[in-house]
């Protein structure tokens, strides 16, 4: 009797196991997926050294240099005194923002250089930690300049903001400004309220162009973002590791 009944209508395929199959596949992909998180500290290496040519020697006043040395036992020597890792960031910030207050410390943030040297036997972990602290000091200063919290500053995505064509133009202006003689930059970023005195016509023109670019208030923030970078240029000088004295 049952057999006859079953023949009448085409049997529907039972789809309840479909979910199980799909789950199985899903779990397989979940397990095999490695969401590659490429996070880290970005740096740009100095340009290539020509053959037989030594690195360009730039004379920097000693007081504008903050020296950090790390020996093979991962001990810090900061400004010729033994230093602690957790005091490093504060020390750098104080040094960079000295602005001539302490005659033994830096003249202004644009001049300040952080010099960093390790031993060949220093642990990479320590090396990166110090680099992180240096970067942290600069990022904190920039975040303060923008009056925003540090983590928000770190999250701000320069590249994404730059997909905007107007901002791309801004970025070009910024890049150009970076090529400018120091006098122009200084004028634009430090004392742009004063009259430009003793500048060439070319410089004055550039300043005008840059000011016009600034005038459109729409992208004020990103401009300020770049200003923060100009105000506190990350000047890290990394020496080739050799033997550091204990």
């Amino acid at each position: 009797m049952l057999k006859k009944k079953g023949r009448a209508a085409a049997q529907e395929i039972n789809a309840s196991s479909m979910a199980d199959i799909a789950f199985l596949l899903l779990i397989f992909f979940l397990v095999t997926t490695t969401i590659a998180s490429d996070k880290g500290l970005r740096i740009i290496l100095p340009p290539k050294r020509e053959k037989e040519q030594r690195d360009v020697v730039v004379e920097v006043n000693k007081k504008n240099v903050y020296t950090i040395l790390v020996n093979s036992r991962n001990q810090l020597l900061v400004e010729e005194e033994s230093g602690r890792m957790d005091a490093l960031r504060k020390g750098i910030k104080k040094f960079v923002t000295n602005n001539g207050k302490d005659p033994e410390s830096s003249d202004n943030p644009q001049e300040a250089v952080v010099s960093y040297k390790t031993d060949r036997a220093t642990q990479y972990k320590t090396y990166l930690r110090v680099l992180d602290e240096i970067k942290g000091a600069y990022n904190e200063l920039r975040a303060e300049f923008l009056k925003m919290p540090l983590d928000e500053y770190l999250k701000f995505n320069e590249k994404k903001a730059m997909d905007d064509p107007i901002l791309v133009k801004k970025a070009q202006n910024f890049a150009e400004a970076m090529q400018e003689p120091a006098s122009v930059r200084k004028y634009l970023n430090v004392n742009h309220k004063k009259d430009p005195k003793g500048m060439s016509d070319y410089e004055r023109k550039r300043i005008e162009a840059y000011k016009q670019a600034r005038a459109s208030a729409k992208e004020l923030f990103i401009e300020k973002y770049f200003d923060a970078k100009l105000e506190y240029p990350e000047r890290i000088s990394e020496a080739e590791p050799t033997k550091v004295e204990e």
Binding site: S16, G40, Q123, K125, D132
Partner: protein, 153 residues
């Protein structure tokens, strides 16, 4: 006893008919986002921690160099000293310029200057090794580099 004991109508069973659809959607998402790893990492990976992390957006421009002690399996063969791995082979630091040229060719004419080198290095290696690699990268004009690190202290 009032409405208390009254049996309300049995709730209709929740239809699970859309479950496969949902699961398939998830499945497709993972299938699309999965990038099956091309290289077999032959060195131990344990990144140092850092707080000022930057994300690497330009995946297609990135090339990887792994440095660390060989994995347990390979330790017998290659020893404990940190090794430099690119693609699927161990190389010496002097071979890095050649590797960079290869990677540039892969990127093609338009993009080759945008090359970013991500250095995935074990936290316990010595700076000496890192420096050798950096000097070679500098020599081959691959100056945009990233020290891979993880968040949190």
């Amino acid at each position: 006893m009032g409405g208390f004991g009254k049996k309300s109508k049995p709730l209709p069973a929740i239809s699970t008919a859309s479950l496969p659809d949902i699961v398939f959607m998830l499945l497709f998402f993972f299938m699309v986002t999965t990038v099956l790893r091309e290289t077999n990492i032959m060195v131990e990976q344990s990144f140092p921690s850092a707080s000022q992390l930057q994300k690497l957006e330009e995946k297609s421009l990135t090339t990887y160099i792994f440095i660390g002690p060989p994995t347990k399996k390979l330790m017998a063969k290659f020893g404990k000293e940190p090794k430099i791995q690119v693609d699927d082979v161990f190389i010496e630091s002097k071979d890095i310029p050649k590797f960079v040229v290869q990677e540039r060719v892969k990127l093609g004419e338009g993009k080759k200057d945008g090359l970013i080198v991500s250095l995935k290095m074990h936290r316990d290696i010595k700076v000496g090794v890192v420096t050798d690699v950096k000097l070679k990268l500098r020599e081959s004009e691959a100056r945009n580099i990233l020290y891979a690190a993880r968040g949190g202290q």
